[in-house]
């Protein structure tokens, strides 16, 4: 992590009588500290990375003062297992990860903790990455809560409420001896807002105030007959205790409204969207006072049956607002109304789509559909229908006038990304006759972007760190070898065990490329066990991947600096064609450019200000020799390698062009060289704050080349003048 979080830590220190203004995820973090948490662990992933990043950045400061232990866990399973501390001891703990992918990984430990039960409050902060902009498969966390009897909260995105519910979550966990999951959607984590802070509270036990002796209780071990007893407890004790707590502390909220023959039951996380839809339809005011009664479920599992029955009893029709499929809540509410012998009509999927996020427009249309269908007593439907008709008209006009859809803008690798050259090399090696097209078992990470234009590389993606493991079934069915991809993040997450040890044990004969950019980059450049951070990590604390791999008995392990496309291609060719059997591992090394720039930029600025000589490298395309075929772009996809109108009046197609975003990584030149593309690329080394020798050399060169006609006369004169000034300095 090449970032500083000093400002965030300052916000976490605020206490009674002060205010917090900032992002949701940081507010949640503050909520943990106000609740007397003793340990926090987790695995990074948008949108909850920030929680871990901030806390671990200050483990020696505020965390040490409060006695909070923070742990960057190896993966989500490790994080969930950390909650074991709360099984025997009255210690509050919280762990965090991205859901549902992380919950999948954590499921084993989660089941065990939920079954054993907890005495200290155990909270799991989930970044629910569902819907627009999500980078993972689309599922909801709800099923996890149901199947292992852990509770699930879904607070409405309002800072004071979110923070309050964190504290209530610990209490709920303790009252019902059950771990509690608190999910926050991606936008709720990034939402900025304000709340009145309270003093941070040290935990009941902490690193400053330690436990005295261990507790042994066979009833908390996952062995029969304890497991049978635990299952019974879940149903007979913990579940009812949770229901009582939720009802008693009014964790769910009822908002009255004047059209009370109908109503809306919504998940907490969707509350603001419901209000905005109603505001737009003229059925709610700016402060969220709605004309239609709303039951907002801040706890989405378990449901408090009588609370819902009571809300529905007086209503003809109720709308259930929950995303995704299956419609757990709609089904559960239908069932509980049947049991309560209530005939209230339940509307949900139908006016809402079965799949996909309820973003603003979906919500608006769904609410309008419900209102038009249920016709609340005394309502004027005309303005409601007019809003939807107006929306249709705007979109129709836009589509008609634009004539054609606006092209998509898929994401890609950053400018200067060290992973891009590897995919250029893979594309090129597949052009070799003795290689041809290769099946690629891709993995999760920035490198998944290789599947997008312009590379289109990667035939399967099956999970984080599972690139190599996912090749086990397919590789034996091909004549040639397959390539698997793994990031260094995925390697340490589980790739070493599930992929490499499996491949070594089963004598796989395939190729693994490990993208070693030194960070868990896609989640925000968190450091990994193998991170060197350009040499700024003490070398005796770095765990080199190469040694771990060799330790598992893999013999063919090579390292290659990624930007050397020609060499990378040669190495790939060798790995794919060598008669040597067994797993071939290429560690493709080069630092994440974002992290590198973040570290280097201030240093360069300082050096320049101090008048030191700094050489800046940039690439460019000669507009005279570029013929506008864009082969270079198809082999690189660099954001700063773009096109511009052709300055040559005879040529019509745009030419390639390197814009000012260039960080001088050199890939375009390397690709032009390795793929034998064209002579248009040039590298320019610009000597900033030149010294006497630079200027002398420059002057001499200009004078000789000028005599051969290579410089216009004016340029020679300028150069000489500048040289003179420099020499005098």
């Amino acid at each position: 992590m090449e970032r500083s979080f000093a400002k965030e830590v300052e916000l976490l220190r605020r206490g009674d009588g002060e205010y917090f203004e900032g992002e949701g995820i940081l507010a949640i973090t503050k909520g943990l500290l106000q609740s007397g948490v003793s340990y926090v662990g987790g695995y990074q992933g948008a949108p909850v990375s920030h929680l871990m990043d901030v806390l671990t950045s200050d483990s020696k400061g505020l965390m040490a003062e409060l006695g909070v232990h923070t742990e960057v866990c190896a993966n989500e399973a490790a994080a969930a297992a950390m909650l074991a501390a709360s099984i025997n001891y009255p210690i509050r703990g919280a762990v965090t990860w991205k859901s549902t992918v992380g919950t999948n990984v954590a499921a084993d430990a989660l089941s065990n903790v939920a079954s054993a039960g907890v005495v200290g409050g155990a909270l799991i902060i989930l970044g629910e990455d569902y819907g627009e902009g999500a980078s993972i498969i689309q599922e909801r966390t709800h099923a996890f809560a149901m199947k292992c009897s852990a509770w699930l909260m879904d607070p409405r995105p309002h800072h004071p409420r979110m923070v309050d519910l964190i504290e209530k979550g610990f209490e709920l966990s303790e009252a019902s001896h059950t771990p509690v999951m608190v999910e926050f959607r991606i936008r709720a984590c990034h939402v900025t807002g304000r709340f009145a802070t309270k003093d941070n509270k040290p935990g009941r036990f902490s690193t400053n105030d330690k436990l005295e002796k261990p507790v042994f209780d066979i009833g908390r071990i996952a062995l029969p007959p304890a497991t049978y007893e635990q299952e019974k407890k879940k149903v007979e004790e913990r579940f009812p205790a949770a229901i009582d707590f939720i009802r008693e502390h009014k964790l769910n909220e009822v908002f009255p409204g004047k059209y009370d023959d109908v109503g809306i039951v919504c998940l907490g996380g969707l509350y603001n969207s419901v209000i905005r839809g109603l505001q737009q339809l003229g059925l709610a005011d700016v402060f969220g006072n709605s004309d239609i009664p709303i039951l907002c479920l801040n706890v989405t599992y378990p449901l408090v049956d009588d609370e819902i029955a009571e809300f529905c009893a007086t209503k003809r029709s109720v709308l259930i607002v929950e995303e995704g499929f299956p419609e757990y809540h709609e089904q559960a509410i239908n069932a509980l109304l049947r049991k309560a012998d209530l005939n209230t009509e339940i509307v949900g999927k139908g006016v809402f789509p079965k799949a996909g996020e309820y973003q603003a427009e979906v919500m608006l249309r769904g609410l309008a559909g419900f209102i038009e269908g249920s016709v609340p007593k005394g309502i004027d439907l005309e303005p409601v229908s007019a809003v939807v008709a107006g929306l249709d008209k705007t979109k129709e006009t836009a589509a008609e006038m634009l004539g054609k859809p606006v092209p998509k803008r898929p994401p890609g690798f950053c400018t200067g990304c060290p992973e891009r050259p590897v995919f250029s090399a893979i594309k090129l090696v597949q052009r070799e006759e003795d290689v041809g097209e290769v099946h690629i078992s891709a993995d999760i990470g920035c490198h998944t972007f290789a599947a997008l234009p312009p590379f289109g590389l990667g035939n399967t993606v099956t999970g984080y760190g599972l690139g190599l493991a996912s090749s086990a079934g397919v590789a034996p069915h091909f004549n040639g070898r397959t390539i698997s991809i793994m990031g260094d993040g995925g390697f340490w997450h589980n790739g070493l065990s599930s992929g490499i040890s499996g491949a070594a044990f089963n004598d796989h004969d395939s190729v693994l490329v490990i993208m070693a950019n030194g960070y868990s980059s896609a989640t925000g450049q968190q450091r990994l066990p193998s991170t060197t951070a350009g040499g700024s990590v003490p070398s005796d604390t770095v765990m080199p991947m190469e040694r771990a791999i060799k330790g598992l008995g893999v013999k063919w392990v090579r390292k290659q600096y990624t930007y050397r496309v020609g060499k990378m291609k040669k190495l790939l060719h060798e790995a794919l064609t060598t008669p040597e059997k067994g797993l071939k591992v290429i560690i493709a090394e080069a630092e994440c450019q974002i992290a590198k720039q973040r570290r280097l930029r201030p240093l360069v600025r300082k050096a320049l200000d101090a008048g030191n000589r700094v050489v800046r490298t940039r690439f460019g395309v000669d507009e005279d020799t570029c013929t506008g075929d864009h082969s270079c772009i198809r082999l690189s996809g660099c954001p700063s390698l773009t096109v511009k109108p052709n300055p040559d009046p005879l040529r019509k197609d745009p030419i390639a062009h390197v814009n000012n975003g260039c960080v001088g990584c050199g890939l375009c030149g390397e690709v032009a060289d390795a793929a034998v593309l064209c002579p248009s690329f040039y590298r320019a080394d610009i000597v900033q704050n030149p010294k006497g020798m630079d200027l002398f050399l420059d002057k001499w060169r200009k004078s000789v080349i000028g005599r051969l006609g290579g410089y216009a006369n004016g340029a020679v004169a300028n150069g000489s003048a500048a040289g003179g000034n420099g020499a005098a300095r």
Binding site: A46, G133, I186, H190, V191, T192, R194, N272, I275, R276, Q279, G288, A360, E361, L364, L391, T394, K395, T397, A398, M401, L402, V406, P407, R409, P410, P411, G620, D622, E623, D624, T625, T627, G628, D629, H630, I633, G637, T642, V643, L650, K652, D653, V658, N660, G669, D673, L677, C678, P679, Y682, A684, D685, I686, V687, D694, V704, G709, N718, A722
Partner: protein, 529 residues
């Protein structure tokens, strides 16, 4: 805010009836997050309830990202503990200000229904950042933006479309600061400019540059400063005394064709010598004759213009001599210095990546030798991989002399293998062009544009030439001499040309050539002739 203007009641100003909504559509890496934090900080400094959110997620880098901001323009103290409920999504039909950092993203905002005539101000930079899909086409894949501006003006209450990228570049800063300046200067946001400036200062990063950008955007949108001029392109040197050739051109060619042919003559002379320029005009004359004979006058002599364009480009094909000449001329270094933003006193060392192989060597050998080398090479595919990697530092004396020496080989070019090969194909093309003109003007135009497939260097060039030959031999040449309705042939040629430029591997072209788009019955019969 109309709600604010509702006036006072009981001596206190009425509270706004709704929140102010604003969405920022940016591209990953442009600083949309920082821009949003400035706006939020400014609103907070005034004590306004405010909320922002974003989905950077997978959209990191180059993908489209959106930031959504809501502000309730009334101080916390006036709300008696209440707080406005704000949304987490930009909602169509409910937007006050829509900001996009690039023109195509403005199109996306329009498409989504975010921009409505009753209340939306659309603020967008008018420059383009091309998406990977637009960039990677073999030809011109750029999204045409003219309808977009019209749509923006039609659908927005107020559309502010400014080249903010140029303002940023001219002020040596980044675009997000300029955008903030334009937002502030537009007067459409309930926050005074000073609050924004303070927010920039408080961030403490690159403050002076950001303030400069802010001021440029602010002043420009208010009409206080003009758009900074783009520096004029570096002048290309005159190729020598071409007065006589130009006089001949003006005398014997219609005015509609002068612009392109003049460039063609210059290029040919620059490439070889005055005689080569004359040869260019001789051949252009042949096209003109066919053009005139087939009603070209009514069509603005389009055939001569397009034929003359590709004739010039083909005659000046890029061999190593040409590349060396272009890279060693004086104005080039000037252009490089400007492009990389080198200051006057900063020495620049330029490295070229040259990698000539058998093809490039064969191309400058005498025809018999060149042909022999090419045949020998083709017998063993591994020989195709032979290349001499040359990293030439053009502005070192040794590097320059190498390019200078290569360029001096120009005298030899007319005796080279490739020269002979190219000219034999040029002549076949000209013949097809001439006879096609007699059959159909459209057909001749299609054939005139065909050499555009011969692009690039090395493998790309080899594939391009292969595609050209396939289309020429299978479609163009037979069609040029066939009889009957030529419409099918024109469509087929156009489809093949588009397909050849669609993907470099030639997959699309293969599909088109296997199944040409439904030619009429009679045509198929003629193709067999």
């Amino acid at each position: 805010m109309s709600a604010e203007a509702n006036g006072a009641s009981n001596g206190a100003e009425a509270l706004p009836e709704r929140t102010f909504t604003m969405v920022v559509g940016a591209l990953g890496g442009e600083g949309g997050g920082v821009l949003t934090s400035w706006i939020v900080a400014a609103a907070e400094s005034l004590g306004f309830p405010c909320q922002s959110t974003s989905i950077p997620g997978v959209a990191q880098r180059t993908g489209a990202t959106t930031y959504y901001i809501e502000i309730y323009p009334a101080h916390h103290d006036r709300l008696a503990g209440r707080s406005p409920t704000m949304a987490l999504y930009a909602t169509p039909g409910n937007m006050d200000v829509v900001v996009t950092s690039e023109l195509m993203e403005a199109g996306r905002a329009l498409e989504l229904g975010w921009v409505t005539p009753d209340r939306t101000t659309l603020i967008s930079s008018s420059h383009r950042v091309y998406s990977i899909l637009e960039k990677s086409a073999m030809g011109d894949g750029r999204f045409e933006a003219s309808d977009l501006i019209e749509t923006a003006n039609h659908l927005a209450r107020r559309a502010i479309l400014i080249d903010m990228d140029r303002l940023a570049q001219a002020n040596g800063t980044v675009i997000n600061a300029v955008i903030l300046g334009v937002i502030a200067g537009s007067g459409e946001v309930p926050i005074p400019a000073e609050a924004f400036e303070k927010a920039i200062e408080k961030t403490g990063v690159a403050v002076s540059g950001n303030l400069r950008g802010f001021k440029a955007g602010f002043d420009y949108v208010r009409g206080d400063i003009p758009m900074p001029e783009e520096p004029p392109p570096v002048e290309r040197g005159a190729p020598g005394d071409i007065g006589a050739l130009l006089a001949r051109l003006e005398e014997s060619f219609p005015p509609e064709t002068h612009r392109i042919l003049r460039d063609g003559v210059r290029r040919a002379v620059d490439y070889q010598n005055l005689a080569y320029g004359a040869r260019y005009l001789d051949n252009a004359g042949k096209i003109l004759a066919a053009d005139k004979a087939n009603g070209g006058a009514e069509r603005g002599f389009g055939l001569t213009v397009e034929g003359g364009r590709y004739l010039a480009l083909w005659m000046t094909y890029e061999d190593i001599i040409r590349v060396a000449a272009l890279k060693s001329r004086p104005e080039r270094m000037e252009r490089v210095r400007r492009e990389v933003g080198a200051k006057a006193e900063e020495p620049v060392v330029v490295t070229e990546f040259l990698k000539p192989g058998y093809d490039e060597i064969a191309s400058v050998l005498p025809p018999a030798l060149g042909r022999a080398l090419t045949r020998w090479k083709e017998k063993k595919s591994s020989r195709q991989k032979f290349h001499v990697a040359m990293r030439v530092k053009t502005n070192t004396v040794f590097g320059y002399v190498r390019l200078w020496g290569l360029a001096k080989l120009r005298f030899w070019r007319p005796y080279s293998y490739r020269f002979a090969e190219e000219w034999s194909e040029i002549e076949t093309w000209l013949e097809a062009l001439e006879s096609a003109a007699g059959r159909s003007y459209e057909l001749a135009l299609e054939i005139a544009e065909l050499p555009n497939l011969r692009k690039g260097y090395s493998d790309t060039h080899r594939r391009g030439v292969g595609n050209y030959r396939k289309v020429f031999e299978e479609l163009a040449r037979p069609a040029a001499t066939a009889t009957g309705d030529p419409a099918g042939a024109v469509t087929a040629l156009n489809a093949a040309r588009t397909a050849a430029l669609a993907d470099p591997e030639g997959d699309a072209l293969r599909t088109v050539l296997v199944a040409p788009p439904a030619p009429p019955e009679e045509n198929r019969a003629q193709a067999a002739e």
